[in-house]
């Protein structure tokens, strides 16, 4: 990049900031941009954060990205942004000027969301330094304990890291206290209607309840985990009997990293859609103002089209996200919401519905601040929109010599349900640790909250093997295949038992039911 280009880039960046803040009212932290060579850019993309730990996975991704980069046309705007304070973003120095501007404006969109969305407020702001320090320590571990065992631990940590949410900071003891307090509050002597006449044995009852509470506390102390927890890594770090201190450190770091990515994974479509809308608007302004010239317009259009390309086999979050945002804004500008609109059966009236409500901007900002992808899709990916942007479901059909990818006959509403059920929120299935001492033999039991889509069994089994490595004892996963309850076991010696139907047993007595004494009613 020449010095004059750099000066111009700085000038344009300043204008982008002004436009974003003043014209569009976006709250944006100050951003630091680094212009880096292409090879470094690919590396940063492969490593997710530039200072990330070393792993064969990142090496693999780096090779893949390099191959893609070398084999396809230039002009695909690569973007990497780190949600830290200050936010950092990277620009590839071989990109044309128009692409740099596009990426910068896009980054402003992301940072706006990082600043305003409530989901991004709990994560750590120093992920770069944190990972850099971790990398140094991990290198030491590799020298001391051997690369294989460190790699195995890292792989296991990677397998489970996205199950930890940045909002769940309660320790096991705090949970126990809380549950105990809640139960205690429930167990009050009940005043009967004629208590004042027949005389109340309140004192007796209180002694009884005190005894009962002691009983509950004892049982709570035996129960592990106190309540089902989704934070699998936290639970394993705290309770595994086979992990060494350095392994706990490794897992702790990977869990932190998972927590850093947690909101990004859950707002992928919103985030990319939002940033795409922002860069389109800002770049439009820049062209109008003459800060970018006509030649650059062609390059910009080309790159923008690459960003928003339709893919035959997958959903493009940039395109679908921005279409949904656009749709929301339009609908709320025209007042197409609420009972009156929903209950209107006149297609023509609906078509022409426009109350000049102009609520669009307020609506998209409030949605941006509070929603995740799942809610976002649930509420705004309407069947009408699905038809409009041509989403479809495909399936594989086998013939003699080929496997065909065939478009199915699902209606828009069915497509919507499938997307919401499986594709939008389904990156991380909800899996809880329900028992850390199964049958008092120290086995770990995980339970998958089945939402209508099965887990991939191959993946689940391999992930369970990772769990088993960390736990050092029996590990089991309860889930469903179709309507069938099944259970995948990895035994203490590492052998996998094929998923077998869960034996139909009477449900185990609920601890609260058995503990609630009859004498509570006087």
């Amino acid at each position: 990049m020449t010095p004059s280009d750099l000066r111009r880039l700085i000038k344009v960046e300043e204008r982008i900031g002004q436009l974003a803040r003043e014209k569009y009212g976006l709250q944006v932290m100050d951003i630091e941009f680094d212009v880096v060579p292409a090879q470094k850019m690919l590396e940063i993309m492969a490593y997710r954060t530039p200072t990330n730990i070393s792993s064969w996975k990142y090496g693999r991704d780096y090779e893949r990205m390099r191959t893609i980069h070398e084999n396809i046309e230039a002009g695909l705007p690569y973007e990497v942004i780190i949600n830290s304070t200050p936010p950092r973003a990277y620009l590839m120095n071989t990109n044309p000027f128009a692409v740099q501007v596009l990426v910068m404006a896009h980054v402003y969109g992301h940072v706006n969301m990082f600043t305003e969305s409530k989901w991004f407020q709990a994560g750590r702001r120093d992920i770069m330094h944190y990972m850099a320090e971790a990398n140094k320590r991990f290198n030491k571990y590799e020298r001391r304990y051997g690369i294989d065992i460190v790699e195995k631990t890292v792989d296991a940590g990677h397998a489970l890291q996205f199950h930890s949410s940045p909002f769940d900071n309660e320790t096991e003891n705090e949970k126990r206290e809380r549950i105990f307090d809640q139960t205690m509050a429930k167990n009050r002597p009940i005043e009967t209607e004629y208590g004042d006449i027949v005389g109340s044995n309140r004192e007796e009852a209180e002694v009884d309840i005190a005894l009962h509470n002691q009983n509950i506390w004892r049982k709570l102390n035996l129960k592990t985990p106190v309540e089902p927890t989704e934070d699998i890594l936290r639970y394993i770090i705290d309770n595994s009997r086979v992990l060494e201190d350095w392994q706990k450190d490794v897992l702790e770091v990977l869990r932190e990293e998972g927590r850093y990515f947690w909101p990004m994974i859950r707002t992928k479509y919103m985030n990319e859609g939002w940033a795409t809308r922002v860069h389109e608007k800002i770049c439009y302004d820049l062209f109008i103002e003459g800060l970018m010239d006509q030649k650059e317009h062609g390059q910009y259009n080309y790159s923008n089209a690459l960003v928003k390309a339709m893919h035959k086999g997958q959903m493009n979050p940039y395109l679908i996200g921005s279409e949904i945002w656009k749709d929301i804004e339009e609908r709320y500008d025209k007042g197409r919401f609420g009972m009156a609109y929903d209950n209107c059966n006149d297609a023509k009236a609906k078509e022409e519905w426009d109350t000049m409500a102009m609520k669009g901007k307020d609506k998209i900002f409030s949605v941006m601040r509070g929603y995740t992808d799942w809610f976002f899709m649930q509420e705004f990916l309407t069947p009408e929109l699905i038809d409009k942007i041509n989403l479809y479901i495909f399936k594989f059909e086998e013939t003699m010599t080929t496997v065909d990818v065939v478009r199915t006959r699902h209606t828009a509403k069915q497509i919507r349900d499938l997307i919401i059920n499986s594709f939008a929120h389904a990156i991380v299935p909800k899996i809880e640790v329900v028992n850390g001492n199964f049958q008092r033999k120290g086995g770990l039991v995980l339970r998958h909250a089945h939402t209508g889509v099965d887990l991939d069994m191959k993946y689940a089994t391999e992930t369970l093997k990772h769990c088993h490595f960390l736990w050092g004892n029996d590990v089991a996963l309860k889930t469903k295949l179709g309507d069938r309850d099944i259970r995948v076991n990895v035994k203490a010696d590492g052998k996998v038992q094929a998923p077998k139907p869960e034996a139909k047993q009477p449900p185990p007595p609920d601890i609260w039911q058995t503990l609630t004494p009859n004498m509570m009613e006087w």
């Binding site: 080929t402 699902h410 093997k465």
Partner: protein, 445 residues
């Protein structure tokens, strides 16, 4: 708000080193699954680039993820079209079915495994570590002198300074110092330490040291312990041409290409001989490979033709053996050559009696090895079922095989005295064990 240009960002290439780690994992994987690699490899189409594609499974980021839906939906796509449109046709991988029967097509093509490109040479290295031709003999006549390059062998006092032999020079210098010390002691009668100190002080000059001792000028404050090298101590390595003596070896590949050998059988036969040929070419730079195909008549063909051409017709196995015998007599006399013969067929023969006679002749010549491989496979593309499948049976009857090993669903026979091996191949997965049966641990060099 700042833009910083890092045009000269340090290119530490972390990505590269981690990529190597990934590559190592892939290698380990290939090592473990060489058998599948051989079986799956579309070798015959990919010869030009000397690269083969190998599917590598198991190098994924395992996580809890959602699988396919009950309805078998593959995913969501976007674009114009109507229901029932075929969006893409993906050709099925590998026409023959791999071990374990036909697997379901990958639900997400290209995601289930990574295909990695591997150099054939590299694959061979992994496959046949420490294997070599069996029963190789040093033939007295016509050994080949193979120049291997250069080597350092002798040491001389004169030479080029860049080839100085440091250790030897130091040894010489130390030895000479010891001699000097002794000389000083004998000359002056002083203790060893004094003599040594004097020599150090005199910077290695004998006369001066003796003079120092005699005049009582030995100063123990001067640091000592250095070894002084004189011109006479210098030793140099001498470079010489390195020559290796090798025995001549020839491999005669014989293959039945008659009508009964259907496409799949031919694929197996070619696959097997392909790997054998590649392996020999890589391991022995001087092995001659000859190819013979036969139907009712046999002919010598070139490598290209052998691996790529299709033929059909009747089956007279003896023709191939006769031709090989003729070649051995005329071109590769056993007094000069190690002769290896490999014959692959599906066991159909119109005239087994005569074939036995020809094989007997070959065995009598005492060839280094004769390997018979029979492909037993239900092959709808081949003309078969005429009841001629009798070759292995006849061979077993005529030549006894004392060693019999059942392994991995197939059987191996060996007659050490006659140097006669036999195997049965029932599928792609047997190619690798069969090859290993033929090639022994390399002895000696």
């Amino acid at each position: 708000m700042a833009i910083v240009d890092h045009g000269d960002w340090d290119l530490s290439e972390r990505g590269k080193s981690d990529a190597q780690r990934h590559q190592k994992k892939i290698d380990d994987h290939i090592r473990k699954n060489v058998r599948d690699a051989i079986a799956e490899t579309p070798i015959i189409t990919d010869r030009k680039g000397r690269k083969v594609k190998i599917p590598v499974k198991g190098l994924k980021d395992w996580r809890f993820v959602y699988g396919k839906n009950k309805g078998g939906e593959g995913g969501v796509g976007q674009g114009e079209g109507k229901p029932g449109d075929i969006i893409e046709r993906i050709p099925k991988k590998g026409q023959g079915d791999g071990p374990g029967g036909p697997g379901p097509p990958g639900q997400q093509p290209g995601v289930d495994y990574i295909e990695t490109e591997v150099d054939i040479d590299y694959l061979l290295e992994i496959m046949f570590e420490d294997l070599g031709l069996p029963w190789i003999e040093e033939k007295t006549k016509a050994q080949q002198l193979i120049p291997k390059g250069w080597k350092f062998e002798s040491i001389s006092k004169k030479g080029v300074f860049s080839r100085i032999h440091k250790t030897r020079t130091m040894k010489e210098a130390i030895a000479r110092t010891a001699v000097f010390v002794r000389e000083i002691v004998e000359d002056t009668g002083c203790p060893d330490e004094v003599a040594y100190q004097a020599l150090s002080q005199a910077e290695g000059e004998l006369e001066k040291a003796i003079w120092l001792v005699k005049n009582n000028m030995v100063n123990f404050d001067v640091p000592s312990g250095d070894v002084w090298i004189e011109d006479d101590d210098l030793r140099f390595k001498q470079i010489e041409e390195d020559i290796e003596v090798h025995s001549n070896a020839v491999l005669i590949c014989m293959m039945d290409v008659s009508a009964s050998m259907g496409l799949n059988k031919k694929y197996l036969a070619r696959s097997m001989l392909f790997w054998l040929n590649e392996f020999l070419k890589k391991t022995y730079s001087h092995v001659v490979v000859k190819f013979i195909t036969h139907t009712t008549t046999a002919k010598v063909v070139g490598e290209e033709e052998f691996f790529y051409k299709m033929e059909s017709g009747g089956t007279n196995c003896y023709t191939a053996f006769d031709l090989a015998n003729y070649m051995i007599d005329t071109e590769f006399p056993l007094s000069e050559w190690n002769v290896y013969c490999v014959y692959i067929s599906d066991g159909e023969d119109f005239d087994p009696e005569r074939t036995m006679k020809s094989i007997g002749e070959m065995v009598k010549k005492e060839v280094n090895m004769l390997a018979y491989t029979e492909i037993q496979l239900d092959d709808p593309t081949g003309v078969s079922g005429w009841g001629y499948q009798n070759l292995l049976k006849t061979i077993k009857k005529t030549f006894k095989f004392p060693i019999k090993k059942k392994q991995e669903g197939t059987t191996f026979y060996k007659n050490e005295q006659l140097r006669f091996l036999a195997t049965v191949i029932r599928g792609k997965e047997h190619i690798y064990p069969a090859l290993k049966w033929m090639l022994f641990e390399r002895t000696g060099k």
